[in-house]
């Protein structure tokens, strides 16, 4: 069950002129969060801005073996994210969670390939910790506009995550979209498997988990489907409540009878099986 915490800002680290990582003293929520779940936050008082905003839980903070809070990776795009960017230690942020459907976690020998576009990195730190605890091998395909917007690389490296980077301007990693190396590697992994005969082409040797801009999610789902890999994608919709009350956050999902219907992504998601979603 979600709880609402008037969380104190423990610290706020600016990563660039737009990105920050804000640490909130909400241990009750942090301890209960599964990778891919989110919180609805509201910094500041008063009715403007009015609604909470959804953010994936980025990290669970522990000190001396106790959970002390959680962090959010936030990109400044509007009024609430600007407030999160400007927040200082001691400020209060209302934090409601954990909410939503998490990523299903894969166990070895299956591998987890994580695909992050920009701020879509957010669910993959907590996810890395959870997968590491299971001993699952992980790769992070991580794309951004430019090298200055690739964050936490050392953090992931230190946890044994294999990194495949891409930037639109080519300043770090491959030039272009991160889905290109993803497609290439998936193709060769499949070929290698076929050659080795160890796995079927449709085998469950790996799952692709993605978070990022819509077109990226769509590409990931198609690439995975084409190579018979399972994909889980975390979608971004405008959310009014986060609890299934308002029906604002819907996304079209296949209904199994050739049709489609709108599913509330706050409770039916935000993580969906890539094959479930209607992409056209």
């Amino acid at each position: 069950m979600p709880v609402d915490v008037e969380a104190r800002v423990i610290r706020n680290t600016r990563l660039s002129s737009d990105y920050n990582v804000i640490a909130l003293a909400a241990p009750e929520i942090a301890a209960a969060t599964a990778p891919g779940q989110f919180v609805m936050v509201k910094p500041g008082r008063g009715h403007d801005p009015l609604l909470r905003r959804p953010f994936s839980v980025f990290e669970v903070l522990r000190a001396n073996g106790r959970v002390e809070g959680l962090t959010l990776l936030s990109k400044r795009v509007g009024v609430t994210t600007a407030m999160l960017f400007d927040a200082v230690e001691g400020d209060i942020v209302s934090c409601l969670g954990p909410l939503g459907r998490a990523f299903a976690l894969v166990d070895p020998p299956e591998e987890a390939w994580m695909v992050a576009g920009g701020v879509g990195l957010a669910p993959f730190a907590i996810m890395t910790d959870a997968l590491a605890a299971r001993g699952t091998r992980t790769t992070l395909f991580y794309g951004a506009r430019t090298g200055g917007e690739l964050f936490y690389l050392d953090w992931f490296r230190a946890r044994g995550v294999r990194l495949v980077l891409a930037t639109e301007d080519g300043s770090v990693g491959e030039r272009g979209r991160v889905t290109e190396p993803l497609e290439r590697e998936l193709r060769s992994a499949r070929q290698a498997a076929r050659v080795a005969g160890g796995l079927q082409a449709s085998g469950n040797d790996l799952t692709v988990d993605a978070c990022g801009p819509g077109p990226m999610l769509e590409a990931v789902a198609r690439i995975a489907a084409a190579r018979g890999a399972r994909s889980q994608v975390s979608v971004v919709r405008v959310m009014g409540c986060g609890l299934g009350g308002c029906y604002s956050c819907v996304i079209p999902v296949r209904d199994g009878r050739g049709g489609r219907h709108y599913v509330r992504s706050c409770i039916g998601g935000p993580v969906f099986d890539g094959a479930e979603l209607v992409w056209d």
Binding site: K42, H47, D48, L50, R52, V238, L243, C246, V250, I267
Partner: protein, 313 residues
């Protein structure tokens, strides 16, 4: 002991707080955050006879101290509601007010029949005021005859209290309250949302897929309070007030203006744990003002003029 109960026609509510339709799903979504039996009532999401997909996204957009919505009444239809949701709501001991919406007068009547036969429905709220759909609904709510006809037709087929929900998008809302009363309504509820729109200036497109939507939230509260005040003076049946309630103070303001009960919509999105806070705030107020029954607060606005206008600060 403070008595929080209020009476809406033959229906006694444990307290005046009702979850507003469309802002609380089918109620069951909130079973984990609030004890549904602690609420005066739960008005479930507007139901048609058939299932509906609603409008494509974007369906909401935030505005200053408010929000627009054009959900388009996505819903599971009355039959699935009765089968899938009502039993759970009964188990949770919720006082269920079903908000119904028809494209035709017959559809309202049919919905009322079905729900009157179902077990666990406490009252019917007639949504004749949704600004987000083209067919039916608001065309009744914007015509005095239409309002009269829907209410009187539904009354003929049900024993349940009938509560037409009025739209604020009219010149004289009190006339609609009167038409409802004449048609036999047990109460009226108001306000539904204000027809409104927002434009993304970069793309020059409406921010909602439906172009227009309904404005709710604190922004509209002063207009809604005025309308409740006007209706209270126009009719003898109870008025259920809503529009931007976000604190006990706001709920009390509506009751002083004339609301026997109040509904809370948008504020539940902002704070799903608001319900006990509202109840505690109302209790504290009544205690401080030595009012034994919340019903004694209803309509007690004092409009006699004062002599001196000193600000006390």
């Amino acid at each position: 002991m403070i008595d929080l109960s209020v009476q809406i026609g033959s229906l006694q509510l444990a307290n005046p707080l009702i979850a507003a339709s469309g802002c609380f799903g089918y109620g069951v979504e909130y079973a984990g955050t609030v004890d549904l039996s602690s609420l005066g009532g739960v008005a479930v999401k507007g139901l048609f006879l058939a299932e509906r997909e609603g409008h494509p996204p974007e369906r909401i957009v935030e505005t200053p101290a408010g929000m627009l919505n054009a959900i388009g009444l996505q819903g599971i239809g009355v039959h699935r509601f009765v089968r899938e949701k009502l039993p759970e709501l009964r188990d949770l001991r919720a006082t269920v007010i079903v908000n119904i919406c028809g494209s035709t007068l017959d559809e309202y009547v049919e919905l009322a029949r079905i729900l009157s036969d179902a077990d666990g429905v406490a009252a019917l709220e007639l949504n004749i005021s949704c600004p987000n759909i083209k067919e039916g609904g608001i065309t009744f709510g914007c015509s005095l005859h239409g309002t009269f006809d829907v209410v009187s037709s539904v009354k003929k087929v049900t024993h349940l209290p009938v509560i037409p929900k009025l739209t604020p998008n009219v010149t004289d809302v009190a006339a609609f309250a009167r038409a409802s009363e004449e048609a036999g309504a047990d109460a009226v509820s108001l306000v539904n949302t204000f027809l409104a729109m927002a434009i993304d200036v970069e793309t020059r497109r409406p921010q909602l897929s439906n172009i227009v939507g309904g404005l709710s939230g604190p922004a509209i509260r002063p207009i809604a309070v005025r309308m409740v005040y006007e209706c209270r003076r126009a009719v003898k049946i109870p008025v259920i007030g809503m529009g931007g309630i976000a604190s006990a103070r706001d709920a009390i303001e509506f009751m002083i203006a004339g609301a026997t009960a109040v509904q809370v919509g948008t504020a539940n999105f902002v704070d799903p744990f608001i319900w006990p806070k509202l109840l505690d705030g109302i209790r504290e107020y009544l205690r401080r003002h030595e009012i034994a029954r919340v019903a004694d607060l209803v309509g007690t606005i004092d409009t006699t003029s004062r002599e001196k206008q000193w600000i006390s600060s």
